[in-house]
């Protein structure tokens, strides 16, 4: 008789896998990807391709030659995803060598230093982006205008966030008149990092992830609501602060709320913890945008809250079955 396999229960599995989740997020990014190609053409293609290839290469090379791993993790989709998200956070005219440095920092420092998939405390794509923002501030903040299809010859212009920060620093509400319409910001007809411009495409992707149960609603909804409410209060206090709809639709907020803050590895484990995390990110983003040195605060807010995740996890335990209501 053939030998019987013996193992402990459960003997069946849901069929879910790391790949399904990672590539699920990649699929959710497709609408925003198409928008970025539509609005930034060649530039978007060059930046994204460089970023993805470089991230996958560094993941492979570091795993193979430095960590000496026999089983390589390149195919699990997480490096592709980091590459895409890093690219989404860059201007479409960024020189290739800067992108490669960004990818090295994202994968090398952000992920592999800590042991690879699942071990990193900070969102790797944001580690890469913030490193570039601090190292190459000019290149990282000269955003091509929407519809500027070339790569090296892209026409740069003011982004909605730059206009908003100018209005605040000059205490002049009339500057806000230059803001693009809400509809333009929703669709993505505005300047900015190549993947963040179309709020609509990003929301579509977010709904897909919630529908496919890749993520839950807690993080994106708590971030967006917090930002909307706080920006609304500021707008009521003084008209130099832009209206909440523009604030929510502008900059990297939607990309951050839907795709960066929801990263499994670097976000809290319980719904309660996720709401605390989301509210804090929203709060920090509004504070940095209104009073910080940088016009955009989303990346910093997420990285700061990444650092708090272990504490949030320790504080926010799920409710134990049968626990007496307090």
């Amino acid at each position: 008789m053939n030998k019987l396999i013996v193992s402990l229960s459960p003997h069946v599995h849901s069929g879910d896998s790391v790949e399904k989740n990672m590539y699920g997020v990649v699929i959710a990014l497709v609408p925003a990807l198409l928008c970025s190609l539509w609005f930034f053409g060649m530039g978007a293609a060059v930046v994204l391709l460089t970023s993805v290839c470089a991230c996958v290469f560094f993941e492979w090379a570091i795993g193979r030659f430095i960590l000496g791993r026999k089983e390589l993790t390149v195919t699990d989709g997480s490096a592709v995803l980091t590459g895409l998200l890093l690219g989404f956070n860059l201007p479409s005219n960024l020189p290739v060598w800067i992108i490669i440095i960004g990818a090295l920092v994202a994968i090398g420092v952000g992920k592999m230093t800590f042991g690879g998939l699942g071990q990193n405390p900070f969102n790797p794509a944001l580690v890469g982006r913030v490193f570039l923002l601090i190292s190459f501030p000019v290149a990282m903040t000269s955003w091509p205008e929407s519809g500027s299809m070339g790569y090296s010859d892209a026409v740069t212009g003011a982004t909605p966030l730059f206009i908003m920060s100018q209005a605040i620093s000059n205490q002049d509400a009339s500057l806000l008149a230059e803001l693009p319409s809400a509809l333009d910001m929703l669709i993505g007809r505005t300047g900015g990092s190549l993947g963040e411009v179309s709020a609509l495409a990003l929301m579509l992707g977010c709904c897909y992830m919630i529908w496919k149960k890749i993520i839950t609603w807690h993080i994106p909804v708590s971030i967006l609501c917090t930002v909307f409410v706080l920006a609304g209060l500021l707008h009521l206090v003084s008209p130099v602060y832009a209206d909440p709809v523009s604030v929510v639709l502008s900059g990297g907020l939607m990309l951050g709320a839907c795709f960066m803050a929801t990263d499994y590895v670097t976000s809290p484990m319980t719904p309660g913890g996720q709401i605390i995390y989301g509210v804090a990110i929203g709060f920090l983003t509004v504070v940095i945008r209104a009073w910080g040195a940088y016009p955009e605060g989303m990346s910093f807010a997420i990285l700061i809250m990444n650092a708090f995740v272990p504490l949030i996890n320790t504080y926010c335990k799920p409710k134990l079955f049968g626990e007496v209501k307090k």
């Binding site: 193992s7 459960p10 069946v12 599995h13 879910d16 079955f321």
Partner: protein
């Protein structure tokens, strides 16, 4: 639609044998009766080699209060009293009987006439519990806890209702489903007996919505008994867990151990147990046979068999078309909580609800990946635990941390490992931690008692 409040998963149901009527399995040539067919003290053999036994002859008497006697399900000669491999994959004391004919003890009523509670006005609670105890009835959902113990609440505790577990939330298994379809009247009388035994006026039968025919039939049959309510439940695993079922049916949550269901006024019994209670009390028949589902994707004829206890599993598989060529794993019970068997010569016991045969492909686990902290195990856990954390603490032998994080509340349902995208052996590690922590707690209690 009612269901339990925390966590849960929905594995593919695969109820291949749901439409297969229960058929009687052939008598074995040799039957082997383990003295360990229940939780608690083992039964003590009262027969010796060469003794002649009939169907219903006592083979082993209860070894204590939390224990149950074992009866012969066949007639013949005791060939030896020796160790045998049992369904827990352990060699333990058993009685071997070589089968000759099919002669029954005369005290057993073998007729199929329905005896109603009103036909037996002489029955009181004490008599019923005593009968159940004598008949060797144990929880037939698979937990095999002696039924008479559950029917004897500790002093100061009062039962308010009996909840019948007809959920059968394990994929593949259909034994309880078929039993309801074919023995509904007897089951309802059994429920009344259980209610009378614990002195309550209210009985519930929890059935999941994937058995609409059983719900309809039971509702129709229960019209005569206004104090028995059939409760349809949303399909969700592990609804058949005792604590989950109580939460789903009456909305009360049993606190963490050492609390037990009676602390919230509930006595939970499996639907198969209710039938066994009917047969024991009304027909004087000890627990000698049960329904077992023999199933699997490659099994020629997935079936529900009415089989005598002590029959080797191999014979039951043969009755359903034989062991498939591609067999990889044979599981005693369902795929979520069942135990992989190391031999097909293991005999069936009181807790054998199913035999699931998986092919080699299905039987292998996926490759383990690093935890990606997706928290799917946290949302799946029906006890509100953090499986990823308990597993990590256990693998690092951090027993204090595991105890603080309530590892002893784990009911080992396997929802965490089922749902993990990284195929991590979460429950394996948690079991290790739970067993160790329970040992530590026991030792500590003993030391504290010694100090006093």
């Amino acid at each position: 639609m009612k269901t339990f409040r925390i966590g849960g998963v929905h594995p593919a149901e695969n109820k291949l044998s749901a439409a297969a009527p229960i058929r009687e399995a052939a008598l074995p040539k040799q039957a082997v009766f383990s003295m360990f067919q229940h939780i608690g003290a083992p039964a003590v053999p009262v027969v010796k080699k060469g003794d002649k036994v009939k169907v219903g002859t006592l083979l082993g008497e209860a070894g204590g209060f939390v224990s149950a006697p074992v009866y012969s399900s066949v007639s013949g000669t005791v060939s030896k009293v020796d160790v045998a491999l049992d369904a827990s994959d352990t060699r333990r004391m058993a009685v071997y009987v070589d089968v000759e004919g099919d002669e029954w003890e005369e005290s057993i009523d073998r007729s199929t006439d329905l005896v109603k509670l009103s036909d037996r006005p002489d029955l009181d609670a004490k008599t019923i519990v005593e009968k159940v105890k004598q008949a060797g009835i144990v929880g037939m959902g698979g937990a095999t806890f002696p039924t008479h113990v559950k029917l004897s609440p500790p002093p100061g505790q009062k039962a308010e209702c009996v909840i019948i577990n007809a959920v059968e939330c394990e994929p593949y298994l259909t034994a309880d489903h078929r039993l309801m379809m074919e023995k509904a009247d007897e089951i309802l009388v059994g429920i009344q007996l259980l209610m009378k035994a614990v002195g309550v006026e209210k009985g519930y039968v929890g059935i999941e919505m994937n058995k609409p025919d059983a719900i309809t039939l039971m509702q129709k049959k229960a019209e005569k008994y206004p104090n028995i309510e059939i409760v349809p439940l949303k399909v969700k695993y592990p609804q058949g867990g005792e604590k989950q079922l109580i939460d789903a049916v009456i909305g009360r949550q049993v606190p963490a151990p050492p609390a037990i269901p009676i602390n919230v006024g509930a006595v939970v019994q499996n639907v198969g147990t209710a039938f066994a209670v009917y047969e024991a009390v009304m027909k004087n028949k000890p627990l000698i046979a049960r329904v077992i589902t023999v199933t699997g994707k490659s099994v020629k004829q997935p079936s529900n068999l009415w089989a005598r206890l002590g029959t080797p599993f191999r014979q039951l598989i043969d009755e359903c078309g034989g062991l498939p060529e591609d067999t990889g794993k044979v599981i005693g019970g369902g795929p979520m909580m069942g135990k992989a068997l190391i031999s097909l010569d293991i005999p069936m016991t009181k807790g054998s609800s199913g035999l699931l045969i998986m092919n080699g492909q299905e039987a292998r686990r996926g490759e383990t990946r690093p935890c990606i902290r997706c928290a799917k195990c946290v949302s799946a856990c029906p006890m509100g635990l953090e499986p990823f954390l308990l597993s990590a603490l256990s693998s690092q032998h951090m027993w204090d941390g595991a105890e603080k994080n309530n590892i002893t509340s784990c009911i080992e349902c396997g929802s965490c490992a089922f749902t993990c995208p990284s195929h991590r052996p979460l429950l394996d590690m948690i079991r290790l931690g739970k067993t160790t922590v329970m040992g530590i707690i026991k030792t500590r209690a003993a030391e504290n008692a010694a100090k006093k």
